[in-house]
Symmetry: C2
Subunit: 354 residues, 2 copies
């Protein structure tokens, strides 16, 4: 049965990537060894790592601009700590737009002064705060570009002389931005980039080396950069599948091409949410994410019926996060517009039934 996988992450990846990855688990590149049993120091894996790092920079338009890409472990959650360890000397500024921002902020506080420049907690994070002021003496400004749980997304980033650090875990490679305005970007792989188990960190090298503390080796970006993501054994398979997914995206036309498709998908679902009296969007209209659409039934009594219809249509993973309730349709890069249409269709069908 064809499944329409709206899981918020780990989530859908291209079918062609699954096929290649499955083959590589049996026999990688025809070398008669599995991708799971080769040394990370083998020439075969070094080529994978180099291509992954290069593709990440290329897709973001950051080649030859003083940036390096790393593939590390521990997800964005460990980066909450690493960012502060490597960059926070006196004061850091954080924009609080949801659960992940809050967690990032909490870890940074262990290492220095943190200013929360604005928060949308007052409205259960259903909007992105605007018109906040970033202290000019902050070491960096941290934000979360897309809030998976609440379905909001930042469309404007502040003009500031302070280095901008962004957690792009749930919208990396999904839309065109001037990425050179960011000094550090990190993203857990398990949305648009690959399977769970690796995190991409893109760093403008000149922001490092400014803190006076001693940094533990595994948290030190300079050490990871000096070893080109091989300070310790990297998560070979997760990096390999991420490389395949980035290759797929490049062949598709890169971020511009996928952004058009992502906007098409978001249009399908938001039009139906706005049209259909049985549903109500959760996020403020102007801040609606093109990755994760959050919405509720106007009549909760219809939930069992709608859930059954979703199940019969092969729809997977649309339950909302417990902090929002209702539904969440995650429409990451690899999802086809047809799948979003299937969801919109059953929403309409519910209206006809009800």
């Amino acid at each position: 049965m064809k499944k329409h996988n709206f899981s918020a992450g780990p989530c859908i990846l291209p079918q062609s990537v699954f096929r290649e990855a499955s083959q590589a688990v049996l026999n990688f590149n025809g070398i008669d060894l599995s991708i799971l049993e080769i040394s990370h120091r083998s020439k075969e894996f070094i080529a994978v790592m180099e291509e992954a790092q290069s593709l990440a920079l290329e897709l973001l338009g950051l080649q030859d601009k003083g940036y390096k890409a790393l593939f590390l472990q521990g997800g964005a959650s460990l980066q909450f700590l690493n960012v502060a360890y490597n960059l926070l000397e006196n004061k850091a500024a954080y924009l609080n737009t949801g659960t992940w921002s809050s967690k990032a902020l909490k870890e940074a506080k262990l290492l220095g002064e943190v200013v929360e420049v604005a928060s949308s907690k007052d409205a259960n994070f259903n909007y992105i705060p605007k018109n906040y002021t970033i202290p000019e003496d902050a070491d960096y400004f941290h934000c979360t570009s897309n809030n998976t749980i609440f379905g909001t997304q930042m469309f404007d980033f502040p003009q500031t002389s302070v280095p901008v650090v962004a957690d792009m875990s749930s919208d990396i490679f999904s839309r065109k931005l001037d990425f050179s305005k960011f000094s550090l970007i990190y993203a857990g792989a398990q949305k648009n980039m690959g399977p769970a188990g690796t995190v991409l960190v893109v760093i403008k090298e000149d922001i490092l080396g400014k803190v006076t503390r001693i940094i533990p080796s595994m948290l030190d970006y300079k050490i990871h950069l000096s070893k080109e993501s091989m300070f310790n054994t990297p998560p070979v398979f997760a990096v390999y599948v991420s490389m395949l997914t980035m290759r797929w995206l490049k062949n598709l036309g890169g971020i511009e091409a996928i952004e058009a498709r992502n906007r098409e998908k978001a249009g399908i679902i938001y039009r139906e949410i706005d049209r259909n009296p049985l549903f109500k969007g959760f996020a403020a209209t102007e801040d609606r994410s093109i990755m994760n659409a959050t919405f509720n039934l106007t009549d909760e009594a219809l939930k069992p019926v709608f859930d059954q219809m979703a199940k019969e249509a092969g729809i997977n993973g649309i339950n909302g996060h417990r902090s929002v309730g209702g539904y969440r349709a995650s429409m990451y890069n690899a999802m086809e517009p047809e799948s979003v249409q299937v969801l919109a269709d059953i929403m309409k069908e519910l209206e006809n039934k009800a």
Copy 2:
């Protein structure tokens, strides 16, 4: 061509595990979704994680003895830091038996006083120091049970009232020990347990909660325990393949059964090293690892010939680590005795040729 994969890690895993994992990348358990696209909160993956944790304790004979198993990220290298963060209040005792011990010791020093109780650095770590004294007031004693690079292994562990912490990355699940003598065991997956990308941590819960420092969330064992390895998105595929490998080992008869086979394999290679005048073992005889045999040619001029013979025999990954040189045959759990015999045979053949 049949390959004999002696890679030091990531390394050989059972062929049946590769087949199952390959299938799961296409369609996991017949649910029409890839293992790479399912939520870590799905009932399917929760079952995998629970089975993995349970198998780890069962194989070590640590069920119902106050231990918990975690599957985390960052490899043993991050555990070097975590161990100290969670356990080091006043003083820690470290036995230095090689590169990884030295690295563990270095990270611990960032957090408190560290006593190096003994070191075999004087002889390029070719032996395991004995008859050292562990300070009775140490918070814990740390050792590396098997030294992958140097081919040495600890066969006796100290009798001490101090909690014993062991990095068993390269010999976990390979031999019977009284594991209840250890308070904390950690092991990067990529030798006997699974692919690179996850690390097993087995903790006796009562050793936690004794340090006064604030521990960053991702480094805090209590947080990971309270969330059953799901504080953040776990490395789904690496945990899944580890679970498959542990299942394979259990079906094979567990650690006792595999130890017999591992001793058989070690016997084949060490007998040939000792018999053949063209080769010389690196590690002290009484400390020879049953996982990694290190040896050198007595005449380096024979290297091109021997390397060519190895290549033609389908032998992969026997180059020694740069700090030892020569050769290293890693014979982890999944390696068949036949493969070790192929290596011993070409060693003999070289003698006949030379």
